[in-house]
């Protein structure tokens, strides 16, 4: 009995800080804005509001939101899993750089992605020029924009990297001899995958699917810009009701519907999660990976890299090429301020600002994420708490942003317009990525390893450092990469509230793209290229870090 008691104590102790963070920077602002919204109009008619919020148009929007998120998730997994296999099982030159490049889309502002997709798919794209010339047509033949296809393609473009990193990273530690044994016993490759690999991968796959789904469920920019005005998700509706029509009660109602959906789905997932986990003997990556030797292997790898190149590489490359249209002119222009605008952003300054915010977010998200994951991984009843940490990702940024506005304006929480609030806002969105990356890894560790260490006299912190840490190090690095990108790409509520001139790279890009003229467009492309470069450097650096004196998995 005392043991049970102690475990409870550890559980609460570890969760203290993360829960406090969630309470102050998530639940408190949210409750405040809901309260204000629902008391906004005097004598609020609850039945009228309910019938408006739960009207057939909301049901339609909700149906579309769920549908496109489901399709996007399935498509991303289908395209990403073969890639994840390669990155798990093979070692080849340039692998680290390619992995880093696949994550670049995650930080790009939607306006930039839209520009890239227009260049690749739009009426003046090389593809269309060839088609028009070949078929003797005067008008462009192919335009995928403003279709459901464009939305799905963009979601795959953004989220491919999640599958690659989260599933691939986990897969890399699975013992390949399991599959080899099955094959030796006569199982076909498909059967060996279905009956051996898939069940073991399921925790990582479902964690990834959950993240992708919620990410697409609250999709905003992609839907508006690439889907066009005919498509609307709940997030889009919330934005319109709030900003255009100042209809706060309806916006709050829709926001609640959105949160309930996220919560419901997450609860189903977290409930299942511990049942999916199977502790296994994990192997370090150097022992599971090999150089491709047979022609079949090389062809398979080349085909997968080809898919990734077409899907991710072509749009990215178009942006980079554009930025060099006039040689280095657009880059030089970034360093000039001919009109002496007070809002001129020296590129170095934007890079430093963005990087500082991203590093602070990463540090905070890793700390809180690690504490959360350590508290949750061995608790069957942890699923209720676990779902809470996913909620911020599925909450409307517009609503939460306004929540910050009304809740963070007075002492002791007088944080409006501070850098701290930006970091806290980003951390809220980054946290689910860290937790989802860490949990499957922690749950896969055989308890006997920890018990052996403890029996040999290691205190719990030492057990963690010597047993858990080397194994989950890579999962931690994956979490760090996504925390970094979330902040670099300016996700989250804080981009919705007023902030002092703390120009970051995405903000500079938006500024350039809001004006006509060659120089503005060119500078936007140049700044986007810089953003990509900074991120690639960041990813490679984060993945190269190793705890000193430890062999990581």
């Amino acid at each position: 009995m005392p043991r049970f008691h102690k475990e409870n104590l550890t559980f609460s102790g570890l969760l203290l800080l993360p829960l406090l963070f969630l309470a102050i920077f998530y639940f408190y602002p949210l409750l405040k804005i809901f309260h204000i919204s629902l008391t906004w109009n005097e004598g609020l008619d609850i039945t009228a509001l309910l019938s408006r919020v739960l009207s057939s148009s909301t049901v339609r929007v909700l149906g579309f939101t769920l549908g496109q998120a489901l399709l996007s998730t399935v498509l991303t997994l289908a395209l990403g899993l073969p890639g994840a296999y390669i990155f798990a099982r093979y070692d080849f030159p340039g692998k680290r750089l390619i992995t880093a490049l696949t994550t670049v889309p995650f930080v790009l502002p939607t306006v930039v992605v839209a520009a890239a997709f227009t260049a690749v798919l739009g009426p003046k794209s090389p593809l269309n020029t060839i088609l028009m010339w070949g078929m003797g047509q005067a008008r462009p033949l192919l335009d995928l924009r403003y279709t459901l296809g464009a939305i799905l393609l963009a979601h795959v473009f953004y989220n491919y990297t999640l599958t690659l990193r989260m599933v691939g990273g986990f897969w890399a530690n699975l013992d390949p001899t399991l599959v080899q044994a099955a094959r030796a016993l006569g199982a076909s490759p498909w059967r060996a995958f279905r009956e051996v690999t898939l069940p073991l991968l399921l925790p990582a796959i479902s964690a990834t699917a959950m993240l992708i789904f919620i990410f697409c469920f609250t999709s905003f920019g992609v839907i508006l810009i690439l889907g066009g005005p005919r498509f609307a998700t709940l997030e889009v509706e919330i934005y319109r009701q709030t900003v255009n029509f100042a209809n706060l009660p309806v916006a709050a109602g829709l926001s609640l519907v959105q949160m309930m959906c996220t919560l419901g789905l997450t609860l189903i997932y977290t409930r299942m999660q511990s049942g999916l986990a199977r502790p296994v003997d994990l192997r370090p990556q150097w022992a599971t990976q090999q150089r491709p030797r047979r022609t079949g292997e090389i062809v398979y790898i080349a085909a997968n890299l080809g898919v990734a190149l077409v899907l991710l590489g072509v749009p990215l490359l178009t942006l980079v090429l554009r930025s060099f249209d006039l040689g280095l002119r657009y880059y030089r222009a970034l360093f000039e301020n001919p009109r002496h605008s007070i809002f001129y952003v020296p590129p170095v300054y934007a890079v430093v600002n963005s990087t500082r915010l991203a590093l602070a977010t990463t540090a905070l998200a890793l700390t809180l994420g690690l504490l959360t994951a350590l508290a949750l991984y061995r608790r069957r009843r942890g699923w209720l708490v676990d779902a809470l940490f996913m909620l911020p990702l599925g909450t409307s940024a517009v609503t939460l942003g306004l929540g910050y506005l009304v809740a963070m304006g007075r002492p002791p929480l007088d944080l409006r317009g501070t850098t701290g609030l930006i970091v806290f806002g980003h951390t809220l969105v980054a946290l689910p990525f860290v937790v989802r990356s860490l949990l499957p890894a922690l749950q896969a560790i055989r308890p006997s390893l920890r018990e052996a260490a403890a029996t040999l006299g290691a205190a719990p912190p030492r057990v963690f450092v010597e047993v858990d840490l080397p194994i989950v190090w890579r999962a931690l690095a994956v979490g760090a990469v996504f925390a970094f990108t979330v902040s670099m790409g300016e996700f989250g509520a804080t981009s919705m509230i007023a902030r002092p001139e703390l120009p970051t790279m995405p903000i500079a890009i938006y500024r350039f793209l809001s004006r006509p003229g060659a120089l503005n467009y060119g500078q936007a492309m140049a700044m986007s290229t810089l953003l990509m470069m900074v991120c690639v450097v960041g990813f490679v650096a984060m993945e190269s870090l190793r705890p000193p004196g430890t062999q990581t998995f």
């Binding site: 800080l17 306006v111 839209a114 520009a115 227009t118 739009g122 009426p123 003046k124 008008r139 462009p140 508006l224 810009i225 066009g228 005005p229 005919r230 319109r240 900003v243 255009n244 029509f245 100042a246 209809n247 009109r339 002496h340 605008s341 007070i342 809002f343 602070a360 540090a363 905070l364 700390t367 809180l368 690690l370 506005l405 009304v406 304006g409 944080l415 409006r416 501070t418 701290g420 970091v423 912190p461 981009s495 919705m496 509230i497 007023a498 902030r499 002092p500 001139e501 903000i507 938006y510 500024r511 793209l513 809001s514 004006r515 006509p516 003229g517 060659a518 503005n520 467009y521 060119g522």
Partner: protein, 349 residues
């Protein structure tokens, strides 16, 4: 474990410590504006020196987001002055009572037609005309005449040529919808849009997508449609930002009567703000020649003051609408949602 807590505490301290303390000496005046606001360094310095002040600008997103924030935090505002409410949002701002009245002395320089609030809660600072822009090369090559009225756009000659922004999301988009309501009336505008739809109008979400993605005329425009809803100053910006590569704009703006909407922008002193005297001085400053002359090249709109001197590129290529459509601000606020929803029903469904 202890170390982790220490790290967290340090991080928290580090960032809460970043809050700017206000030392003795210059007082800080906080100005809330939208994302594309801009001003020259020396103009800011002129104000700061003259009043022993420091200006702090807060970027609050687009106009709608900015106004929302100002209304929600009106008891404890984030700033002392707000710049950039336009006439489509003016009524909402005035009804919410976020401004305190101040009758600026320099108002005498501003033409009477820009004064939309008789109680002096806000002062007009600048205006920009939302107009149709066209691809000059396309019209020359195809020997097509440039449309001179909204009705022209429904003619088969212009089928599939026009791209507009979504009025539910974009301010030029809303402006163009208002032009159609101003011209055809509340009873006739939906019929007009039906005809536009039959003539294959394309609606996209925002100005960037329309101008860079769908329009064919600008230097980096990727699209195939030669008519777009943009600003009367866009052709001048094309020349200016080509850095000498263009001596003539590749695009033109239609300024014929009844085809444009005039967006007038306002600034006001926020209720419950600090440093009232400094805020009043700043309002006067916004209307002074120093600030007014700086407006065109920074924000690509026209200064409101009759005394302002325009830069060369504006004199050469920027146009002013001849007789912009007129819709009262109060009526815009009252009907915005209904108009947009009815429009969406006709155009998007």
């Amino acid at each position: 474990m202890k170390r982790t807590i220490l790290v967290v505490v340090l991080v928290v301290l580090l960032f809460t410590g970043c809050q700017s303390a206000t030392p003795e000496g210059p007082r800080t005046l906080r100005v809330m504006t939208y994302g594309s606001f801009s001003v020259s360094e020396d103009v800011v310095a002129a104000f700061e020196q003259a009043h022993n002040a420091k200006l702090q600008f807060l970027d609050a997103g687009d106009t709608g987001q900015m106004l929302n924030q100002a209304i929600l935090s009106k008891d404890n505002p984030q700033a002392d002055v707000l710049y950039g409410i336009d006439n489509t949002f003016l009524s909402r701002a005035l009804n919410a009572g976020i401004f305190v009245p101040y009758k600026a002395k320099a108002l005498s320089n501003i033409p009477a037609s820009y004064h939309l609030d008789e109680a002096y809660h806000v002062v007009p600072t600048d205006f920009g005309d939302v107009c149709l822009n066209y691809d000059r090369a396309y019209f020359e090559e195809n020997n097509l005449s440039i449309p001179q009225s909204l009705a022209d756009l429904t003619h088969p000659d212009y089928k599939g040529l026009l791209v507009v922004e979504n009025p539910a999301a974009s301010s030029p988009g809303l402006a163009f919808l208002l032009v159609t309501i101003g011209v055809f009336g509340e009873d006739g505008y939906l019929e007009y849009w039906q005809a536009l739809r039959a003539n294959d109008v394309l609606v996209v979400e925002d100005w960037d997508t329309a101008y860079y993605g769908e329009f064919s005329g600008g230097a980096y425009s990727e699209g195939a449609r030669p008519i777009v809803v943009s600003y009367a100053t866009s052709p001048a910006a094309e020349v200016y930002f080509s850095e000498g590569a263009l001596t003539e704009p590749p695009t033109g703006a239609v300024t014929a009567p009844g085809t444009c909407f005039r967006q007038i922008e306002f600034a006001g002193i926020l209720k419950n703000g600090q440093h009232r005297d400094l805020a009043e001085a700043f309002i006067e400053f916004l209307l002074s020649d120093t600030f007014q002359n700086d407006i065109p090249l920074q924000m690509w709109v026209f200064p409101a003051s009759a005394n302002a001197v325009l830069p060369q590129v504006f004199g050469d290529f920027a146009l002013v609408a001849e007789a912009p459509a007129e819709i009262p601000a109060a009526s815009i606020e009252q009907n915005r949602e209904a108009w947009i929803e009815a429009w969406a029903e006709v155009v998007l469904k």
